[in-house]
Each structure stands twice: as C-alpha cells, then as structure tokens.
C-alpha cells in the first residue's frame, strides 16, 4: 500500500472540531501519526484537507442509460466535486434490486477507479412499489441504505411493511416525499411563475402530505428514515418537529435548492427543470435556515446527467434534472458566506452529516472492508479509513462545457464565474479539488 505525507494543509475535521495547520499521514489505507520515509509527499500549501465528501444521492445512469452517464464518467466527475463516496440511485435498468446488479456496479466502479460507489438498494422489486426486495441480502452485498429513487410508493401498506422489515435489520431507508396524485403531472413549483408560464404545477402539498405519512409510519415502526431532497419551508417544519420529538429521522437537501428558486424558470430554461422543483424565495430561505440549525443533516448533489437531446424539448417535455458534479465544489464553498456559517459546519453537511445517515445503528461495529464506506468513524482520526480531499478554495472554477467531466452537460452554471447573473446573489464560483484519496489510494 502507498504511504502519503501531506504537508502544510489547513486540516479541517468536522468530527473532531479540528481546524488547524498540520501534516496528515496516510499509511496502508488509514490515517496515521507518522509515515516511513519513502512516503509520497504532497505539498498542500494553501489547500484545505478534509474528509472526502459523501454524496447521498446521485444518478450514475449505469446500467441502462449510458447515453446519459456511465459509472466510469460519473464516478470520475464525482472526484472533481470532492466526493470520495457516492450513493447511486437505484433507478437504473435493471433496477438495483438484486445482489447481481450490486456486484456489477461495484466491479464497474473498481475498474473506473474514481469515487467509491455505494449502491442504494431499491426496497421494492423493480421499484414497482409492490413486493419487498431482499433487503438483508442487499445489505450484505454492500448496500448500506435502501431507497425508492423518484418512484412513488402508492400503497401505504407496502410502505408500512417495508419500514417494519428494514427496522428489523437496522437498515435505514431513504425516501423522497412525493405524492404523485397531488403533483398530477406537474413540472414546476405551483406558484406565480408556473401560473404565468402555463406550466402544470407541483403543489407543496405533494411533498408535505407524503412527508406527514412517512413521519407517522416512522413513529409507529421506529425505522431509521432519511428524508431525501426536500424543497419546501413547510416540509422543513415537519422534519424539525419530528426530530424534536426524538424520531429517528434525518434529512437532506440538494445543493441547487439552496441557490435557485422558481424565478429561474421564467424563460422556460429546461436546465432548471428538476424532479424536485425549485420553489419560492421563502422556501429557499427556510432550507438555508434548516441547513444552519441542523434540521437538514446533509447536502447532496441530486446529480442527474442528461444527454443533450433529452433537454432539447419544450420545458414540460424535457427530461428533469441537473448535472451537478462539475459545479458542486464551488457551490459548496459559496455556502459559508451565503449562509453565514463556518466552513467546518458546511463541510460537516457533506462528511459527518451523510456518514451519520448511513452509519450502522446497531452496537456491533461492522468490520471495515476496503471498498466499503466506513461511515461509523468518519474523521481524520488515526486508524480511520483514509478518505480525504485536498481543495484549493480560492482557485476559480472552470465551468466551460469542454472542461466538464460529467457526461451530462445539463448544468445552468455552464460558462459562469459568478451566480450574480442567474440569481442576483453575489456568489463567486471558486474552489477546485486538487487531490482525492479513497481508502488511502491517491486518485487521478
């Protein structure tokens, strides 16, 4: 195994509340307090060293949709975002509902040599919302969490038994609250802008009604529930109150939702067509406050690469989703100023925050397997698995199409150096990931 010595970095370790200038040693895949003298040395002057980011929700599109993205392209693009671990959405073809598919993805990921790919198991077969997947088998195969992508579970009975079953094995469930009957084919936030543009709206109630149902089921089953990709102020309130009651609930938000609102769709820009709609300025303000106060534990990419043709259609017929990896790091580093939060607390939302979501809930510490995320001890402590990124926070991000690593060029940030032009908020797009280390191995 390689030995690495990283000199002169500003080391930020949210788990231990450390922010200091020091040397980082990595030996045999784990952090160490020394190294042998033939270690590879990285001079990290001016760089920030922190635990590698964990993305709780990204679509890698393989197997099944390799026109939009492959495990190779997207896990490499993930490194550029600062992610060393990416939880990939189960809405592939075939769906991630069998250990064979999990194995396929893991093999492709190892060959790709990018970020660690951790598949999210589909908790019903084929994401059809009817029959339970083999959750315990999928967990053993390496799925630390089970979810349902953007597919609804219409049958509340199925949802109840899924939560009962998952809680029997301490498997957390990740669910995006969404009631398709209320959304009724909508494609934008149901508000003044959609009304003016004649776009079918997605009412806030499509999220809150589904969320209230999930919270009640969580309360009756005790299942660890992770609420994925919230969009509205009212949902934030529901999660806050559920957490205050002590329910085992965590939640996240996609990074774009901390920046954009429905104002951005004014001229039918299909790059802002997102399955989780951009809502009002008040909703965005509530999401930001929830990141600050801890109601939201994590920030995910909600990465959705699309091929060009999929976006070349009138807004309602265009494919939903934003390609997020290439602009993720600059957006993340824009948050401390925007939210008036210390950088360490922002970094916690992509490190310890998501780690706590997937960390084993039982008392038996799982054996650290190389290749699996060691979510239970996610820090720079000596002995912890060495997932690390080195970031230059001042380097200007190059968001030209030619420089994009993701196969999906569908980012509204392409060509920008500041968000001012889009949102009127003066956020410069700076930060570049210089090195990524996954389980002690230097990538790229």
């Amino acid at each position: 195994m390689t030995h690495l010595r990283i000199d002169n970095a500003r080391v930020i370790d949210p788990a231990n509340k450390i922010d200091e200038q020091r040397t980082v040693f990595i030996c045999d895949g784990v952090f160490s307090d020394q190294c042998n003298h033939d270690a590879q040395v990285i001079d990290a002057e001016g760089l920030i060293a922190c635990p590698g980011f964990i993305d709780l929700y990204a679509r890698l599109r393989e197997p099944g949709f390799t026109r939009k993205g492959t495990i190779a392209t997207e896990s490499t693009a993930a490194l550029k975002a600062g992610f060393t671990t990416v939880f990939c959405a189960p809405d592939t073809n075939p769906v991630i509902d069998s250990s064979a598919t999990v194995e396929l993805i893991k093999q492709k990921a190892v060959a790709a040599n990018g970020a660690r790919v951790s598949p999210i198991a589909a908790f019903t077969t084929g994401l059809e919302g009817q029959l339970l997947s083999e959750l315990a088998t999928l967990y053993d195969a390496g799925c630390l969490i089970a979810g349902h992508a953007d597919h609804p579970v219409n049958d509340t009975g199925v949802l109840l038994s899924t939560m009962e079953y998952a809680s029997s094995f301490n498997i957390p469930l990740m669910i995006r609250p969404f009631d398709p009957a209320i959304a009724s084919g909508g494609c934008a936030h149901d508000g003044a802008i959609a009304t003016r543009l004649g776009l079918p709206g997605i009412p806030v109630a499509a999220e809150t009604v589904a969320l209230a149902r999930l919270i009640e089921l969580c309360s009756s089953t005790g299942c660890h529930l992770h609420i994925s990709r919230l969009s509205s102020a009212r949902s934030v309130e529901l999660v806050r109150s559920a957490k205050n009651k002590g329910l085992p609930i965590t939640a996240d938000v996609g990074i774009h939702h901390l920046y954009f609102t429905h104002e951005q769709i004014q001229h039918y820009d299909a790059n802002f067509h997102s399955s989780v709609p951009f809502r009002s300025t008040e909703d965005r303000a509530a999401l930001r406050e929830a990141v600050r106060d801890g109601t939201l534990d994590a920030i995910c990419s909600d990465h959705a690469p699309q091929d060009n043709d999929a976006k070349l259609a009138p807004f309602p017929s265009s494919a939903a989703g934003l390609s997020a990896f290439d602009a993720f790091a600059p957006l993340l580093f824009g948050l401390p100023d925007l939210l008036d939060m210390p950088l360490m607390n922002v970094l916690a939302k992509v490190t310890t925050g998501p780690a706590s979501v997937v960390a084993p809930q039982n008392d038996n510490p799982t054996e650290v397997q190389t290749g699996l995320l060691d979510a239970g001890a996610y820090s720079l402590e000596v002995g912890a698995q060495a997932d690390l990124v080195l970031i230059d926070p001042k380097a200007k991000a190059d968001l030209s199409v030619e420089n994009m690593v993701s196969l999906g060029k569908n980012s509204p940030l392409v060509g920008l150096t500041s968000l001012n032009e889009l949102t009127g908020e003066d956020v410069a797009l700076n930060a570049q990931v210089m090195h990524s280390i996954v389980a002690g191995v230097l990538k790229g």
């Binding site: 508000g191 009304t195 039918y268 309602p316 060509g415």
Partner: protein, 329 residues
C-alpha cells in the same frame, strides 16, 4: 446564462410574437392601430394587399385546430403570402421524430414565417429559440401558456365597442387554470390599463397565486358580474369532467353558466365575448351567445385583421434581420 425574452431581435424589435408577457402598451397599441387599417381591406371586394408577396408562411399545427388555422391562412392570403398547411398531429411527430428534427425539415422548405400550435406550454418559446434567425415565429397557442393573437383580437373587439381601456371592468369566467386564452387576455388587459380584471370560477379551475397576474378573484359569479363592461366566457374542456375538477356540466352551468339573468347584473351596454367554440348549456346559454350583447362573431371577423397586423409587423422586422444577414454574407 440568464435568458432573455426571445421575442425581440438584435435591433430590439418584435421578431416573434409568442406571448403578451414582456410587451409594452405601445407595442400592443401599435398592433391594434395597424389592425384597424386592415379592417378596411377586409371590407373591400378585392381583399388582398401585397405586403407579404413572395413570402411563405407555414402553419405548423401540432395540435388540432380549425378556426385558428383558418384565420391565419386567410390573413396570410390577404397579405398575398404563400401558405403551407402542415398537419403535424397525425404525422412524423407520432413516429417518434423529435420536435427539433421536425423543425429542421420544415426550415429547409424555405419558409419565412412559422405559425405554431403545440400542446406543451413553452413550445413556441422553444421553437423561436431554435429556428434559423431569419424565420419569424407566431404563437398560435402553446399548452396552457399563451394565445397572443386571440388576446389581441379580443382587445381589438373591446376597443372597437368600448373605446379606451382605462375605465373598463372586465370579467373572465370559467376555467382560468387551463386556459391560454385567459392568460394572454389578462396580460393584455393589465398592460393596456383596464380598470379592473376579475376572474370567476371554482378554485379547482384557478391556477396558484392567480392574483399575481393582476386580477381580483371571485368565487361568486353574480358578484363578479356587477357593473361589468365586458364579460368573457371561456370554453370548458370536456376532459375537465373526467379529472375531478368539476362534478358535472349541469352543476357548472348552474353555478357559473352565463344566463340572461346573470347578464343583467352587468352594465346594460356590456358586451359578451367568447373565444369559441361555445358549449351551449355548459358555460353559456344559447340566448346569451346569440343575444344582442354578444360580439362573438365580430371577434372572429376581427381576428383576420389582427393576424394580418401581427404578421406584417414582425415580417417587416424580419426583413431587417434578413438584410443584415445578407450584408454579412
């Protein structure tokens, strides 16, 4: 990049006619004044003017239409243009060809102007952004978004019968939520400075934050009609009955139907408009549709002059672009 309004060309002139939104009062008034000049053409025995001679206008209708398509066809003919009617409802789009591919093929037919109708909101905007810069696009109705020539012919009708907009109370009744006619009509009335625009209908037929369009909302049609100068009915689409938005046509007529009794709540000289086709006994009683206050048929007639005005104005602006391209080449 922040997107701008695609309706204007590099000389900041109206190059496409996609939506009333984004147009100022002067532009709308200019269209109405130009249309006024064309009404006399339509009254003559030889009804053609040579303004668009040698130009080709293509009607691209991705959605069924008889009335609007015919009106555009007649307007183009009276301007001496060649007209292509392309029925896209039953054509290549059904075979899986993308909208963009279809556009490229139609561009190669060397048309100067596209009149488009499509079931997606924003389709006209999309087409305008992707056609060759020398082509002018007119929105003949896109999804639930806009039907700007209908709005302009409605404004023309109102101005002819009522004069200035400033003192007018206009009531729009029925399915506002799904109506592009209502959206464009409201935008035009607000821009032209109507005193009050009221909308009346059940909440299931109102879009979210409808007040943000600049209207006052009435649940009670009888209150909405009091002292109205202009009453606009809207077509209630049959598919609304299957989607739990209203229980039955009978109940809709009972609660929001335009009856002679209700019309008496409006000012005695109020006019009654409807974009057609009317559902008699659903949103309007036959005696009202055919009554003295009805200007429904005049609306259709004025539609020709208004569309001639829009076509000639933007084709003129298109000429500037075409000349600029020629000079560059």
């Amino acid at each position: 990049m922040r997107r701008s309004d695609p309706q204007f060309n590099q000389f900041n002139k109206l190059h496409h006619f996609l939506s009333i939104d984004g147009l100022d009062k002067a532009t709308l008034t200019h269209i109405l004044d130009t249309a006024e000049g064309f009404t006399s053409v339509n009254d003559k025995s030889i009804k053609n003017v040579p303004l668009l001679r040698g130009k080709t206008v293509a009607n691209l209708f991705f959605e069924n239409s008889t009335r609007t398509r015919t009106a555009f066809e007649l307007a183009a003919k009276r301007l001496s243009a060649d007209i292509l009617n392309i029925d896209l409802v039953s054509s290549s789009t059904k075979k899986g060809e993308s909208l963009l591919d279809t556009l490229r093929v139609l561009e190669s037919l060397q048309s100067d102007m596209f009149v488009v109708r499509h079931s997606d909101s924003g389709a006209a905007d999309f087409i305008a952004r992707h056609v060759a810069p020398t082509i002018n696009v007119i929105n003949g109705g896109d999804g639930q978004h806009a039907h700007p020539t209908q709005a302009m012919l409605d404004m023309f009708t109102i101005r002819r019968h009522k004069g200035a907009f400033e003192d007018l109370t206009v009531v729009i009744i029925g399915d506002i939520k799904h109506s592009r006619v209502a959206r464009s009509g409201i935008a035009a009335l607000v821009t032209l400075g109507a005193k009050e625009v009221r909308v009346a209908g059940p909440q299931t037929l109102m879009p979210a934050d409808v007040e943000s369009l600049g209207v006052s909302v009435y649940r009670d049609i009888d209150k909405a009609l009091i002292d109205a100068d202009v009453v606009m009915g809207l077509r209630l689409q049959n598919e609304r009955m299957t989607s739990a938005t209203i229980p039955s046509t009978g109940e809709f007529f009972k609660t929001y139907g335009l009856t002679p009794e209700r019309m008496r709540l409006a000012k005695p000289d109020a006019i009654l408009m409807h974009p057609g086709p009317t559902n008699r006994g659903v949103e309007i009683e036959a005696s009202v549709a055919d009554g003295e206050q009805s200007v429904i048929l005049q609306q259709v007639t004025y539609g020709i002059a208004v569309r001639m005005a829009v076509m000639s104005i933007i084709m003129g602006h298109g000429e500037e672009v075409r000349e600029a391209e020629m000079n560059q080449a």
